[in-house]
């Protein structure tokens, strides 16, 4: 059998093993057939096509692993590879009929909801090679459904670890549905276990129905040997709002594709991204907001820091579709270079097909503000410490939006660590 045939058979075997509903297996087969005919998606100024970005391996369950008890508190989901180690629903969630379950369970118990929302609205499965491969080779995921009029006091938290112990591909899906008038926060922590060379294909869909409000915070810390495609996309109906706060602190090569489709009138997406690139890594971030709805509002704020020999590219795309009268598209992308050997790019792209709109953009690639540095140093702070403070201030807008204080603290620590390493590199290479 050819590799492709082996892979196809493993998709069917895996689907049978998991007792997936017929419609889902059929969809997987369709995606499998179509994927080789589809192109890889292209992003302005990001060349990743030669990376090992396409998952190719037969589908397998991950090896067993111990649960880290510290993670399993509150409204928390802990997954490692394809395994769900802990999934607890607090009384609040149970009383309010919130659904949180792993992918396997979701397909069996909530097949109708999955069929309605999965890769039909936010991300279309046949959009490109990566989305089709995602559907065909999906091995695990998470489903969250917050019913109408439900407001949650506590954020829902997930720890989603990519398993790189055995070099297995990681194809993971998160589907979040915020029904009409619902309101909640979701915090997603992603990292890597193990250090074999791996490919990750991650898609997160957030469907925000009328008047719902989702605060989405994502902290990505995938490992150095992981090459990942991370697609997070919002689909917003009338007056829905999604506040995205995404921290990209990965160590490997990353394509980040963060989109929001403002379908409904008055829909509002506020996207904040911070990224740090270190070592030899390349991170390409393509953040887009598309205004379809009248009076819809899209705001993009991206701040990044590049160290050592790394590369960071920010594309900010504001697209206003004809008919979206009164729409507003604003964006700001800034890259701070700490190294003379690093490469940074900030590309503002405005595509406007309607006259009655507001739009604006700002972009820059620069160095640490010398006046600020002088001011801090004049108070006795060492140059490196002063530099880190200025950078932390620069990354502040996203850091402050992270809902959990302990996660925020850890994030700041991680950033400190990356900056200290980067500063060491600068000293040595000077």
């Amino acid at each position: 059998m050819s590799d492709l045939k082996v892979l196809e058979q493993s998709v069917i075997d895996f689907s049978n093993l998991k007792k997936e509903p017929g419609w889902f297996q059929k969809l997987r087969k369709a995606a499998f057939t179509k994927m080789t005919m589809l192109e890889l998606p292209s992003f302005e100024k990001i060349r990743y096509q030669r990376w090992p970005i396409i998952p190719k391996q037969t589908l397998l369950e991950s090896r067993k692993v111990e649960l880290d008890q510290k993670r399993a508190v509150g409204n928390t989901v802990v997954q490692v590879g394809s395994r769900t180690l802990s999934l607890k629903l607090t009384n609040e969630l149970k009383q309010k009929n919130v659904i949180i379950c792993d992918w396997e369970t979701a397909l069996i118990e909530h097949s109708d909801l999955i069929q309605k929302y999965f890769m039909t609205k936010a991300v279309k499965w046949d959009a490109d090679r990566l989305t089709a491969a995602h559907l065909a080779q999906l091995t695990s995921g998470l489903f969250i459904y917050v019913p109408r009029n439900v407001e949650l006091d506590e954020p829902i938290t997930s720890y989603l670890t990519q398993d790189a112990r055995d070099g297995q591909d990681y194809v993971h899906h998160v589907l979040i549905v915020a029904a009409e008038n619902s309101r909640f926060s979701y915090l997603e922590n992603r990292d890597t276990l193990g250090n074999e060379t791996t490919t990750a294909n991650i898609i997160v869909e957030v469907i925000a129905e009328q008047n719902s409000h989702v605060k989405f915070a994502g902290v990505d810390q995938l490992g150095e040997t992981t090459t990942a495609y991370i697609n997070r996309r919002g689909y917003l109906l009338d007056n829905a709002k999604i506040d995205w706060s995404i921290g990209l602190l990965n160590d490997g090569n990353i394509i980040g594709d963060f989109d929001s489709d403002l379908i409904g009138a008055g829909a509002h997406a506020d996207v904040k991204v911070v990224a740090i690139s270190t070592g030899n890594q390349i991170q390409g971030i393509d953040t887009r907001v598309t205004n379809y709805g009248k009076h819809s509002i899209g705001q993009i704020l991206q701040h990044g820091v590049i160290l050592s020999r790394s590369t960071l590219t920010f594309n900010g795309i504001g697209h206003i579709i004809k008919g979206a009268k009164g729409a507003n598209a604003q964006q700001e992308s800034r890259v701070l270079m700490l190294s003379t050997k690093a490469r940074g790019d900030a590309n503002p792209i405005l595509l406007i097909d309607e006259n009655d709109v507001q739009a604006g953009h700002a972009a820059s690639v620069g160095r640490v503000n010398q006046e600020q540095l002088y001011y801090l140093m004049s108070r006795g702070l060492h140059k490196e410490g002063a530099e880190r403070l200025v950078i932390r201030g620069f990354l502040g807008p996203v850091l402050t939006a992270i809902p959990a204080a302990d996660v925020r603290e850890r994030l700041i620590e991680t950033i400190e660590g990356k900056l200290i390493n980067g500063q060491k590199f600068e000293k040595v290479s000077r």
Partner: protein, 260 residues
Amino acid sequence: MSTLEVKNLHVEIEDKEILKGVNLKMATGEVHAIMGPNGTGKSTLSEAIMGNPAYKATEGEVLLNGVNILELPVDERARAGLFLAMQYPSEIPGITNAEFLRAAINARRPEDNQIPIREFLKKLDKMMTTLDMTEEMSDRYLNEGFSGGEKKRNEILQLMMIEPKFAILDEIDSGLDIDALKVVSRGVNEMLKNAEFGTLMITHYQRLLNYIVPDVVHVMMDGRVVKTGGAELAEKLEAEGYAGLRDELGLDVVLTDENV
């Protein structure tokens, strides 16, 4: 007792010589004032002493306790005991005032003897009370969105928290109303109760010197100190103006704002 001495200091900015041989000497326990018309190099002198990299010393020395510090970067000068209350302090979003102050204090202490948080907060509270600052100002981002007066107060707060040996106050009175001026002066006078502190104030106006009384007044013109005297010199200047002093000294200097 510590000493700060400026000897024959020449300084350039963008290849233009601004200071043309400044001499002055002071010790802790003393208050010195530098007065002079616009454009004579008063701010340049303060930035050059502190170590702003944009200001290039081409000749002369700045001695702190007899050691030339001109080769030291700004942070080392600060840790050696110098402080400059700036005319235009930077705004730094994302870092709170309190966090910054603690980092500044800890930069002067060994890693294993950082200031305990309780002790820090107690001190901060005390100093903020002296300066009529509201508690929320410590949680605001460093100078971000501060009014001119708030920024000046914040400079003095940093001075009081850091407790340097010598503080240069660069036009700390500009943009302050009488009430704010009194508050800022109160902070400086509080510091002066400590014998191990001296200050060099740069000002256009005699008014500030009513609140912080100088022991010595230096007058600068055209990049040099042209006259040094006691507090009465400032009063004389107030009455006769800089042009009067220039003519009395027979200097061939054009004052920037003359006949304007």
